[in-house]
């Protein structure tokens, strides 16, 4: 079975934010929730690099480990999903997540959080695939339709790759070999406990 991963080739990312709005579009994510974001390092200086970041769907996901109500589950594709019905909005998954993926709607009364929302690798949630209930809670389920996450599919420079981890690692390796440089598969060491030898 394919092991799904994300890879952002920072040497191609131009911070165009297509991944951000594609996600908003596909799942009608409300204002204030940012499943995917682009972070720019060394902004305005030589060496500036941008990285698109959302849930990395880690191996041995720390969010799943710390959840007090065990609302996470990992699919056969290694996509880390959770149930909003079980989530109590405690915020612990955000503390554990090395990538800041969990998002919470603010529902008033001081810092109280609503149900956690995060990137689903366009794989929906526990409800029936492509049902209205699944869409209302988690957004679209592209994986069930045989498609890949829209953020990567719409990336303007083919910087963000998503899909079978072996395939995208191979693509990245070939790219780096061909062009002669690569600043690394950001987040892979932390998320998947591996790096790509280039």
């Amino acid at each position: 079975m394919a092991r799904m991963k994300f890879l952002c080739d920072a040497d191609r990312c131009i911070e165009c934010n297509a991944c951000v709005t594609a996600c908003k579009n596909e799942h009608e994510v409300p204002w204030g929730i940012n499943r995917r974001r682009v972070v720019t390092l060394n902004d305005g200086k030589p060496g500036e690099r941008s990285v698109s970041m959302a849930c990395m769907h880690c191996t041995d996901a720390p969010c799943a480990a710390v959840c007090p109500v065990n609302c996470f589950y990992t699919t056969a594709d290694a996509v880390v999903l959770h149930s909003k019905d079980l989530c109590i909005g405690c915020g612990y998954c955000f503390y554990a997540c090395p990538f800041g993926a969990p998002q919470y709607p603010k529902i008033g009364n001081f810092g109280s959080r609503g149900k956690m929302d995060k990137c689903t690798f366009c794989a929906g949630g526990p409800e029936t695939d492509n049902s209205r209930e699944e869409y209302e809670k988690y957004g679209a389920n592209r994986l069930a339709e045989g498609k890949l996450p829209l953020c990567a599919e719409m990336c303007s420079t083919k910087s963000l790759l998503a899909g079978d981890g072996d395939v995208i690692a191979q693509i990245y390796k070939e790219r780096v070999a061909r062009r002669g440089y690569g600043s690394g598969a950001w987040g892979w060491q932390t998320a998947y406990r591996e790096s790509i030898a280039t």
């Binding site: 920072a10 040497d11 940012n34 974001r37 682009v38 972070v39 720019t40 390092l41 060394n42 902004d43 200086k45 030589p46 060496g47 500036e48 690099r49 941008s50 990285v51 970041m53 720390p62 480990a65 710390v66 959840c67 007090p68 109500v69 065990n70 609302c71 019905d85 079980l86 989530c87 109590i88 909005g89 405690c90 915020g91 612990y92 955000f94 503390y95 554990a96 997540c97 090395p98 990538f99 800041g100 001081f110 810092g111 109280s112 959080r113 440089y181 600043s183 690394g184 950001w186 987040g187 060491q189 932390t190």
Partner: protein
């Protein structure tokens, strides 16, 4: 000789020209004549080694989203899921074990002279209110808090996911709201009793003899003996600690970043479990551990003999202030 002069003049001339040319460079700041942005690209491993956390800039107002990667989240997970549980387990179970052992071997502390039948007021209505406010909220907070840490492994299996989620979600709300009452209780308690809990010589004596709990006479004490003062200060610091960290957790990222939030959670949970462990001692002492102690908080009065044995110095103070024998004291304050 002339040749040297000629050479010197040539050299001087060359230097002069160079000097003039150097001066002729425009006053505008010199730009570097080579900038290769691609080659200067930052690398992940280099940044992680340097800063332990990778942080940059974004455009959305959510400032914490500018943290790209903080592997320390894994350390926090390790602490919460493993280390904390060990600490809690050892502290709480350990204390319970020690208390059980003590009770089994030493039994409750009796009123040696037996009950006199006469009562003296120890705690007025307000003091009892503050104590129970703090105590009851403490228990609720403790239970709901322990549920967050241990519920998943101990309770979820037999409650089932949906029920446990609902239970824990209510627990979260209760914990959040009750925390204010608890904090108020702690603060009130502080101002109420801090004067009575300042360390004195009597306490030194009390500790020297282990408070009479391990054989020997209990030295005379003021309103609160050394042990009780210890409990008081543990409660104050513990209470302050979990209140402050608790409020930080209650208002996440209001001036804090991910690292300080994790730290707050670590502090909150660690102080909490140690505090709970310490409070078991107080529960024990206030209920089965010392005969005649519970009524002090129940109706506010204690037996006079109990007062003489446990808190002689306080009893004498009260007497001096003209409390009538045999009558329940009216609140003097």
């Amino acid at each position: 000789m002339t040749k040297i002069f000629v050479e010197m003049r040539l050299v001087a001339g060359a230097l002069a020209i160079a000097f003039v040319m150097a001066m002729a460079i425009p006053a505008v700041a010199q730009q570097p004549s080579s900038v290769n942005p691609n080659a200067a690209a930052v690398k992940e491993q280099q940044l992680l080694q340097q800063f332990k956390m990778i942080q940059g800039l974004g455009t959305i107002p959510d400032v914490k989203s500018y943290v790209l990667e903080h592997p320390a989240g894994r350390e926090w997970r390790e602490y919460r899921m493993v280390t904390l549980k060990w600490i809690a387990g050892i502290a709480i179970l350990g204390i319970l074990a020690l208390l059980t052992l003590y009770y089994v071997t030493h039994g409750a502390m009796p009123i040696k002279a037996g009950r006199s039948g006469r009562k003296i007021q120890r705690f007025n209505a307000f003091e009892r209110f503050v104590h129970w406010l703090t105590g009851v909220t403490f228990v609720i907070l403790g239970l709901t808090g322990l549920n967050i840490t241990f519920g998943r492994s101990l309770i979820l299996p037999w409650m089932g996911p949906s029920t446990f989620s609902e239970w824990t979600e209510w627990g979260k709300f209760v914990h959040n709201y009750i925390s204010f009452a608890f904090t108020i209780g702690v603060v009130l308690m502080f101002f109420l009793w801090v004067g009575r809990n300042l360390p004195t010589k009597a306490d030194v004596e009390w500790f020297k003899t282990g408070g009479g709990m391990f054989g020997g006479e209990e030295p005379p004490a003021h309103k609160f003996n050394g042990g009780e003062k210890l409990i008081f200060w543990l409660s104050m610091f513990g209470g302050a600690g979990i209140a402050v960290t608790g409020f930080v957790l209650l208002f996440p990222f209001y001036g804090t970043n991910i690292t300080s939030m994790e730290l707050a959670q670590v502090a909150h949970s660690t102080i909490a479990v140690l505090y709970i462990a310490a409070m078991f001692v107080h529960f024990y002492m206030g209920t089965i551990g010392v005969e005649g102690a519970f009524e002090a908080m129940n109706d506010g009065t204690v037996d006079v003999n109990w007062a003489k044995e446990r808190h002689l110095l306080w009893y004498e103070e009260e007497m001096r202030e003209g409390a009538a024998q045999g009558a329940v004291q009216q609140p003097a304050e």
